[in-house]
């Protein structure tokens, strides 16, 4: 190792490059929330799909129960993870803003759906899924998330031509392809980098 006394300008450039290169290639997200929310909303959508199909009245209640519980859990889990973090990066901040904006847009879209009928809302929900994962994929420089988001856009376009019931299948497919699968890939890449 170079000692302080013979620390040459060539060494300092190598040191800077090494540190910045390793920071640049480090994945800042473990994909937990993508997997968690992906599965949670898939469970809600499929519960409603089957409850409508088999005339079970209370199926839609799942929307009033699981997402709020998921919100409380995410808040507690996020706060705990934040406490554990030894470093705060700009990437963390950008991602927090993307998903904060996504949450506001989501709530307003649901208000719109309440006033104008839910069918039109599914299109916008899938657009929002797509935009949030597309931008997150760009920030993290993680291509599976960017490709995954394209499925949400394509399924949003497809949903316009589908009936009410099929919207739930469409939403489930969008979440599986743009949240759950890229989320698992992100998580495995994050874990492999932790084990290095």
């Amino acid at each position: 190792m170079t000692t302080e006394k013979n620390f040459k300008p060539e060494d300092s450039l190598k040191l800077i490059n090494g540190i910045i290169h390793s920071a640049k290639n480090k994945l800042a997200d473990d994909g937990f929330f993508l997997i968690f929310w992906g599965w949670l909303i898939i469970v809600c959508a499929m519960t409603q799909y089957f409850s409508v199909k088999f005339n079970f009245e209370w199926g839609s209640l799942v929307w009033a129960i699981l997402p709020p519980l998921g919100g409380i859990f995410s808040w507690i889990y996020g706060a705990k993870q934040d406490k554990k973090k030894k470093v705060k990066t700009y990437v963390d901040t950008y991602i927090a803003y993307v998903w904060g904006g996504f949450l506001f847009a989501m709530i307003l879209t649901l208000v719109f759906g309440y006033a104008h009928g839910l069918k039109a809302t599914y299109f916008f929900l899938m657009l929002l899924y797509g935009v949030a994962t597309f931008v997150t994929g760009g920030i993290l420089n993680f291509k599976p998330l960017i490709f995954g988001s394209l499925f949400s856009f394509a399924l949003a376009a497809l949903s316009v031509f589908l009936g009410d019931l099929d919207q739930f299948l469409c939403i489930s497919a969008a979440l599986l392809l743009s949240y759950v699968i890229p989320g698992h890939m992100l998580r495995s890449k994050f874990k492999s980098q932790e084990n290095v």
Binding site: F7, L15, I19
Partner: protein
């Protein structure tokens, strides 16, 4: 004639700390220690020097009842780092001529 390199930054450990801090928002002392493979004593001394030069801000807080030291680069630190990299590049360019 070569420009004189900033003596505060032209030190292996201090440069490593500033290079780490330039790419993050803030970092704990323990993170810097792990990343630079340094001893707590040496790192404390170098952090103090960077703080005195106005290149970093140091905030001492408590986390779960344990003392926590947070380090953050200042505008002067970013400026000094950019100037240092520029000076090094100029030095290497002149040397290779």
């Amino acid at each position: 004639m070569f420009k004189e390199l900033d003596p505060i930054l032209h030190s292996q450990l201090r440069l490593a700390v500033v290079s780490l801090l330039v790419s993050v928002k803030e970092a704990e002392f323990t993170y810097l220690k792990e990343q630079t493979n340094s001893t707590a004593g040496n790192l404390s001394v170098q952090i103090q020097k960077l703080k005195e030069a106005g290149y970093i801000e140091v905030e001492k807080t408590f986390k779960d009842n344990y003392p926590q030291t947070l380090c953050k680069i200042t505008k002067a630190g970013v400026h000094a780092f950019e100037k240092y990299v520029k000076d090094i590049n100029e030095y290497l360019n002149q040397k290779n001529k």
